[in-house]
Amino acid sequence: MVRVLKPVELIVVASEKGRVTVKYPYQEPLVTSDFRGAIRIDASKCIGCGACVKACPPNALELLESPDRLVIRYFVGRCIFCWRCVDVCPVKAVVGTREFELATDRVEDLFNYTVHRRAECRECGSGFATRRMVEYVTEKSAVSEYYANECPECRKAKVLKAAARRRGGV
């Protein structure tokens, strides 16, 4: 049988239990070590390969391409904090943080940009990939150094030309 407490008794019980309410904006939040917050892209490590953009389920990371620049745009407002980009990054440039205090009154605050410069083709001079990516590839495999500075179009044309020469003209 449940007994209904009188107001005086309630005050006694409540004063024994004490206060449970957190003083949150004026104290540390209850963030555990496995909480996933917003990501941060370290521009000094990023090579602009776009692996994170491919992996991102809600397209919070997007590639904005132009002939001389390649920009990775991170829109925090669409991010679902799955950290797949952290898993797939080949150079560990994407790091996860515990930040969750992302409230703002201007939506422009939620966009972060990482700007890369395009590599220039030594044949035709047009931009392709990024400089950092070419550096990364030549570092990884020594044989590709000769080809790495050519854009895919020029490389394709060269291969076709060589094949034609080998077969005695097409």
């Binding site: 449970v20 309410t21 957190v22 949150y24 904006p25 939040p29 209850l30 917003a38 892209i41 521009a43 000094s44 990023c46 602009g48 389920p57 809600p58 397209n59 919070a60 829109f75 925090v76 407002g77 669409r78 991010c79 679902i80 904090f81 930040e99 969750f100 205090e101 992302l102 409230a103 703002t104 009154d105 939506v107 422009e108 605050d109 939620l110 966009f111 972060n112 940009y113 990482t114 700007v115 890369h116 410069r117 990024t130 400089r131 950092r132």
Partner: protein, 156 residues
Amino acid sequence: MSESVKRSIWVYHLNTGGCNACDIEVLDALTPWFDAERFGVKLVPSPRQADVILLTGPVTIEALPKVVNAIEAMPRPRYIIALGSCGVGGGIWHDTYSTIGGVRELLKVLEARGVKVDGVYYVPGCPVRPESILYAVALFKGLVEKKVKSEVAYSE
């Protein structure tokens, strides 16, 4: 900050077709543990009485006319606090056929209808933490500083 913000803010909770995770976090923020009523937040049953709309979900096309009606019914000044990834930018549903994709698209619809909104607050998170909601309310009342800002980083 307008005059209405200095008083207690009365909040109308509007789910526009979300998955209910953010709605459960809203309830969590109102429990004695987090206690949003410290800031004067009170849930009201009608947009007619509300100062602020707590908008969750990516605004489905089916819900759009009702959402516009609810926001139209609010007295001026009217504020929107968009909660969660869906509310802010459409989230995982930003390009599906049945949603318009968050509050940014909703504002365009409202502008076309001639409905004015005095301020929009964006609270990312999937789902939002109850602390995020408290932080947004504190930011709305001018108790805390804004922490995020847009960054442009150059690789070389």
